[in-house]
């Protein structure tokens, strides 16, 4: 009897142990491959996750052809592509093909490790590029743009990707569901532990959110729908005092539970209930489809910047603000000397646009210098236990500095450095100084590891 008792206790204890250990730890230790959702066609080059080093999870492809701009679904914190399985079925049932509905997994798929916006940006870049490349190759179409439907952390992640990688022109419609665009009360500013990066990014008034929203919340020609609770009660992440945190200036904002009393959709329901999927699909459809034309471009001629080809509009904003497609554009914009412009070309007919480009013309009378332009970062890259505030400086005060934290090479349209960059997780910072006379510094690269000791151990 005693042995029976002991055996049953050990059995139950073993079950408990196996249930509690993360599968990512337990199963490989047992020589078992961790089951994941990776439903891609064999000829799709699955990109590698910037966080795990493993091929990303997700679904998409598999036939049906590309008849409209494909949709990429981006999940929220600690979720996985399976979050969208029912939404995928809904889109398929409403005429979309397998080639037109994709989902990407980022992060660790484990609540033992919160995901980080900055940490996952390279994964989004790699996946969008892979989808475009695959569909171009398969269909022969340009597939210049994708639609993105993102949820929760996925919203700020995609926004950060578009900003860091100057990628607004690649996103035709962006549906931002319940994103913490202005912070969430569940993210404490004194977050600690392995999961602190995401909360430190998303607490209200955080420096990270300030950089994300700086210059405009909906730049470029991307059509944006912000869909959220709005009551302060159904979505637990947005309390009554911050019920409009997901709101985005310049977007079509829909506080769904306010507009539809009695709907009562919670945080996890907002992006994937049939009634909101209807709204999402209608919004995307209203944006039309790009004509089979080349995207517009900007051409500078002295103090004038023109949009090409004919019919395209040049849209510019000054002093570090981002232009958007809401105002009346013009075929050309006269640039004033000494002012910094951020511009893009917009083709209202096709809905295609160009990347952001910055222009800074030297003030009249300023002499050119032959000195090499330099950009510096302090502190320099390395391993740090705590988040860091990175100050960028140039040896020429009149030069402007652009940077990326996604590892991509910065260009003039990359984020403009205007305040110290707060880094909460491991990133590769690249910075570039550009002078008014067109001289450019060498690209500065600094690697930061946060939450690690000096030897780099986490």
């Amino acid at each position: 009897m005693g042995s029976v008792k002991t055996s049953s206790f050990l059995l139950l204890a073993s079950l408990a142990l196996s249930a509690c250990l993360p599968r990512q730890t337990l199963l490989p230790a047992l020589g078992i491959e961790v089951p994941v959702q990776r439903d891609f066609p064999a000829d799709f080059k699955v990109p590698v996750s910037s966080e795990t080093g493993q091929p990303v999870t997700g679904f998409g492809g598999g036939g049906g052809g590309v008849h409209r701009t494909p949709i990429i679904l981006v999940h929220g914190n600690t979720e996985a592509p399976r979050f969208w399985n029912e939404a995928r079925d809904w889109f398929l049932a409403h005429g979309y093909t397998h080639d037109e509905v994709w989902a990407v997994g980022y992060g660790y798929d484990c609540t033992c490790h919160f995901d980080s916006n900055d940490g996952a940006v390279p994964t989004i870049e790699a996946f969008v590029t892979a989808v475009q490349d695959y569909l171009r190759r398969k269909s022969g179409l340009p597939v210049a743009q994708v639609n993105i439907v993102a949820h929760s952390l996925g919203v700020t992640l995609v926004r950060q990707w578009m900003k860091q990688d100057n990628a607004w022109h690649r996103v035709r419609n962006f549906v931002a569901v319940a994103g913490a665009n202005h912070g969430t009360w569940v993210s404490p500013p004194d977050a600690h532990g392995i999961s602190r990066a995401g909360p430190l990014e998303l607490y209200p008034d955080s420096p990270w959110l300030a950089q994300l929203n700086r210059g405009g919340e909906t730049p470029g020609a991307t059509r944006v729908l912000a869909l959220y609770d709005g009551t302060g009660w159904y979505d637990v992440f947005f309390a009554p005092w911050q019920k409009d945190s997901p709101h985005l200036a310049g977007a079509t904002n829909l506080a769904y539970n306010v507009e539809h009393p009695g709907a009562g959709l919670g945080h996890l329901e907002l992006p994937r209930e049939p009634q909101t999927l209807d709204v999402i699909a209608d919004f995307i459809a209203a944006g039309g489809e790009p004509l089979p034309v080349d995207p517009p471009r900007l051409e500078r001629d002295g103090d004038v910047v023109r949009a090409q080809p004919a019919g395209a509009l040049a849209r510019c904003a000054e002093d570090g603000e981002y232009p958007d497609a809401r105002g009346a554009g013009a075929p050309q914009v006269d640039l004033q000397r000494g002012r910094l412009y951020t511009c893009f070309a917009d083709d209202p007919e096709s809905g295609l646009s160009s990347p952001m480009v910055r222009y800074l013309l030297a003030e009249t009378g300023k002499t050119k210098t032959a000195a090499a332009l330099e950009v510096h970062a302090a502190p320099a890259g390395g391993a740090f236990r705590d988040p860091q505030r990175i100050v960028l400086t140039s040896n020429e005060p009149d030069a402007y500095i652009v940077y990326t934290t996604s590892g991509i090479r910065p260009e003039s349209g990359s984020p403009l450095y205007r305040a110290p960059i707060v880094i909460n997780t491991g990133v590769t910072l690249k910075a570039l100084a550009i002078a008014a006379d067109g001289r450019r510094s060498a690209v500065l690269r600094q690697d930061y590891r946060i939450g690690a000791d000096r030897e780099g151990r986490p």
Partner: protein, 424 residues
């Protein structure tokens, strides 16, 4: 019918005659039933995946219990002055894991539904007040216990969350195993942290939310209790605890994202009777005189011996012993209201204060016959006595004890700290 324990003071002499043992045996392990089923907000909600750790401090000052008629009666039963009590302090470390081991597999049903695992390993300290301890010592027994409790394991499966307008609902199917292997258990003690018997309790629960602010939790569970092969405290722990069904409902209102209050009700009742095999509760000092100092003896004797005694030796002394047999009570029942207050300090730290207030109950009392023998002077040991002629067998009324039998009529206070080790 008014119970003797609640009658007016002038009737105490009669009460003593009837309930000599019940008084000192009235005890309970009050928290044990309730930490299978924590009342409270969001207990059965589909919580986010991940591990949770919480610590509940459970304090109960028991000075009243329910008798078999539903009357609330003092501990001590008149054998000791009123005001006697039991103190129970239990620390309930709880580990909760929610996730899906089968996600992204082809295993039907399980691959789309989260599983829950819960481990509770109590640590406790319980002690009776001085007069009760002194009384129990006359039976060679103890009234204190400290150490680990039984191990509670729960395995469950969440249902999908359904949504109808402003209402969200989900179900939970779970089974709790109470494993008695680690629990402190002393056969000589009234108070044990462990129970010495296995319990398996399948449970069906549901959680609903309305308007994002009103929460309703409800559960029904059937508690299958296995036999206790070593019933403690002279056999007044049930050797065959009855099965029990549990019902619980709780309403919560979110006043603000950080503040909740709850009110609920818990009901549990045994299915049938607790059984007691061959209780051996007996006085240590025997033969026992008919007069003080043993306070209960006059009552005992008059209860035992309603007929005229034969001329006893002088002083009159007797041997008593419980009559072997299997006895049973009339089942137990308890109804409590719960009032709770939750404060969400941050998403990794939640405080929960809760009071369980008994409103009705029925405890375990049963008739235990004692065989009575006249004590006669020993022929071999001068001054000693030997068991003499059998006089009679008389029913006494005793109280079942332990988690399965005693129903406290005193409030229970719980303070819980929930910690999410993975949350920032």
């Amino acid at each position: 019918m008014a119970h003797p324990f609640t009658e007016k003071p002038e009737r105490r002499p009669r009460r003593r005659r009837r309930a000599w043992a019940a008084a000192l045996l009235a005890a309970a392990l009050p928290a044990q039933a309730s930490f299978i089923f924590f009342p409270g907000l969001d207990e059965y909600a589909p919580l986010p995946r991940g591990p949770y750790v919480d610590f509940t401090l459970d304090y109960t000052h028991i000075d009243k219990i329910y008798d078999e008629t539903g009357q609330s009666v003092d501990l001590g039963g008149g054998q000791v002055p009123p005001g006697e009590s039991l103190e129970s302090v239990l620390l309930l470390p709880r580990f909760l894991w929610i996730g899906n081991v089968f996600r992204d597999t082809k295993v039907p049903i399980l691959n789309t539904r989260n599983q829950v695992f819960r481990l509770i390993q109590p640590i406790g300290w319980q002690m009776a007040s001085a007069n009760l301890r002194a009384l129990d010592e006359r039976f060679g027994l103890k009234s204190r216990g400290a150490g680990l409790g039984d191990t509670y394991l729960l395995f469950g499966l969440y249902g999908h969350e359904h949504h109808w307008g402003v209402m969200h609902f989900n179900g939970l199917l779970a089974t709790t195993f109470k494993l008695p292997y680690l629990g402190q258990y002393d056969e000589q003690s009234l108070l044990n942290i462990g129970t010495n018997y296995l319990t398996i309790a399948p449970q069906l629960a549901g959680h609903a939310e309305f308007f994002g602010r009103l929460f309703v939790d409800a559960t029904a569970a059937y508690q299958v209790n296995y036999k206790n092969d070593k019933p403690a405290f002279g056999g007044l722990y049930p050797s065959d605890p009855a099965d029990v069904y549990n019902l619980e409902g709780s309403f919560g209102w979110k006043w603000a994202p950080r503040f909740y209050t709850t009110v609920g009700a818990l009901f549990r009742a045994s299915i049938g009777a607790n059984r007691y095999a061959n209780p051996d509760l007996n006085l240590v000092q025997q033969p026992t005189p008919a007069n003080p100092p043993l306070i209960q003896i006059p009552g005992l004797v008059s209860a035992l011996l309603p007929v005229p005694l034969p001329a006893p030796p002088n002083p009159a002394v007797f041997f008593i012993s419980p009559h072997p047999g299997i006895y049973q009570d009339q089942g137990v029942r308890a109804t409590m209201l719960s009032f709770g207050f939750n404060y969400v300090h941050r998403d990794s730290l939640v405080f929960d204060f809760r009071v369980l207030w008994p409103v009705e109950g029925k405890g375990s009392f049963f008739k235990l016959p004692y065989d009575t023998y006249l004590a006669v002077p020993s022929l071999t040991q001068p001054g000693a006595y030997e068991r003499g002629p059998f006089l009679t067998t008389v029913n006494t009324r005793v109280s079942g004890v332990g988690e399965a039998a005693a129903i406290p009529a005193s409030p229970q206070f719980l303070f819980r700290i929930v910690w999410l080790p993975w949350a920032p």
